[in-house]
Symmetry: C2
Subunit: 342 residues, 2 copies
């Protein structure tokens, strides 16, 4: 029998309270008998969430904390001010070897800040990256995964060419081992060939990636290539990645007022109807972001999965499965090997 | 009677040939009696486009060229290799005082490269910017304009903090004088407050803009704020702006295959239906981009309007009207004044 994979769930800090996350962790342990879930949160809140559920008691434990970081707080300051916040405690469980992985639904910036503060960096990693998932028109890997991995989406804002190349290497490892995509296509995201100039960091990252034998580097792609699914791993700095993800979110929430004003000003929609029909499908995809938004922090000594704060129990259980797979397939060991190979 | 505004139309380089652009220029001169259009293109192609149209002969002239730059060409190299290409000739007409403005439907990068090579920069401008328009949920200014101005979208890739602040100043002038928005809201585009870190260039641009008395600077906005219409002028470097615009284009073209694969993998769409309904309206807005995509090159001694290569005659005429307004309201003089004021 396989050794259990111990996953710490940071169950605090969601606007909706811990019950959905607890349900997700319970669902995971019911489906994956070799997972043990440590629920890091307020004991009474977690107990009351557990009370209505059927679960395997030997696969669930509660690690009580009385503090946590709320969505609106300033990440770095909050982590410094609250060493006993759930997200800090969960990261320390990994550092001390008491858990293999963390799944957090809390404040994403606080999760990154806590992990960055409390966990050692992998060798040759100057900057860590937060991944994001993006629905694409194509699927990839053994699981026919309809999402590509975009990184960085906000662990930082800037990245040098060398750091972008490291993001590419780590993202490629994740896609290969965890998303079961034997030869993931890795690309740099930048402005198109019809524009003038190439950013220095892109030129430098491209030079490095073209020399990296272990990566299936397909070159520079443009913004429209992300939803098309041209690449499986899309690499950019945190400012670009964060802006892109939010443009996608913002586009799908753009309100009816726009259509009203456009109709008044007589803009011609006619020729757009065909594109619209296809666009609707694209938007459908973007909705899945909230349901399936498990994405890794890469660059630290630990399997670390962020899930969107408004995620369902289903997507929390899915993120747990991804974390379990990352542990079983020795993602960290493989990244360490790759990072020290060159 | 007002002096005529002379607009050079670079009618070559569209995939669809010059006929739609010629129709647009003719429509403009029919509606605006004080505009004279110089059609810069192959005489025989232009003549055959004009043959089927009714127009005021005294408001149209043809400037024959036998060369032009096609969409696939490398912009800088093409401009160097083809000094008599239509776009270069149009830029020289402005430089020599034979035209007040250029409207181009050709290769956008070649348009930027030709103007940059052939026209002087405005004082204190180290880097020019290409604008893009983005449909928003709100309207602005006297014309209830449903688009905000995004710049740079690809005149370059990088920009320093000082250069971003200059983009902001120029974009604000354009919005005020041309879009008739008396106090346009100007913002810097960057990663959100939930992420870690702020790019140095953003910090520096923010510092400068907070000290600029002539600009209504509202601070940093996130990607989702663009479609919401939080700002009227959105400032970023060319890599970020170009990627954003293309993400918007790519999202609206995302293909049906995605919905198919998502259905197979059982992702839950149900809760998304409400968001979807609103998203459709957002996509409708993005379609207008192709119909209304007149956007300026800012930073040079000339009124320079780029229109999307697949634009209709209507949007070409609209771009011409924008150019006419920029000339009448002395956009260049006002930008020069602002750029030398501090």
């Amino acid at each position: 029998m396989k050794m259990p994979v111990i996953i710490a769930f940071d169950v605090m800090g969601s606007e909706h309270g811990p019950s959905e996350i607890v349900r997700g962790a319970v669902a995971l342990t019911s489906e994956a008998s070799n997972v043990h879930a440590v629920l890091v949160g307020d004991q009474s809140q977690v107990d009351s969430a557990l009370a209505s559920l059927r679960y395997h008691a030997e696969r669930i434990s509660v690690h009580h904390v009385s503090d946590w970081i709320a969505q609106g707080e300033v990440p770095l300051a909050a982590v410094d001010a609250k060493p006993e916040a759930s997200v800090c405690v969960a990261a320390r469980l990994v550092r001390e070897g008491d858990a293999h992985a963390v799944v957090s639904v809390g404040h994403p910036g606080a999760f990154v800040a806590a992990c960055q503060k409390l966990l050692p960096r992998l060798p040759n990693v100057d900057r860590i990256a937060l991944g994001g998932v993006w629905p694409t028109a194509t699927t990839r890997g053994q699981n026919a995964d309809p999402f590509c991995l975009l990184l960085d989406v906000g662990a930082g804002a800037e990245a040098s060419g060398e750091e972008l190349a490291t993001f590419a290497l780590m993202g490629s490892c994740f896609a290969r081992l965890v998303s079961r995509n034997s030869e993931p296509k890795v690309a740099l995201l930048a402005n198109g060939a019809e524009t003038l100039g190439e950013a220095q960091r892109i030129t430098e990252a491209k030079r490095r990636l073209e020399m990296s034998p272990g990566i299936n580097f397909i070159g520079i792609i443009e913004g429209m290539d992300i939803p098309r699914g041209t690449a499986d791993v899309v690499v950019c700095d945190g400012l670009v990645g964060n802006v892109c993800l939010k443009v996608l979110e913002g586009t799908s929430e753009t309100v009816v007022a726009l259509a009203g004003s456009a109709a008044r000003s007589g803009l011609p929609w006619r020729i757009g109807l065909q594109v619209l029909a296809r666009g609707i499908e694209g938007i459908k995809g973007s909705l899945a972001l909230h349901e399936y938004a498990g994405a890794p922090i890469l660059g630290l000594e630990g399997v670390l999965m962020k899930v969107h704060p408004s995620s369902s129990a289903r997507s929390i259980a899915n993120a747990g499965k991804v974390a379990e797979r990352a542990v079983r397939h020795e993602l960290i060991q493989e990244m360490r090997r790759q990072l020290t190979a060159s």
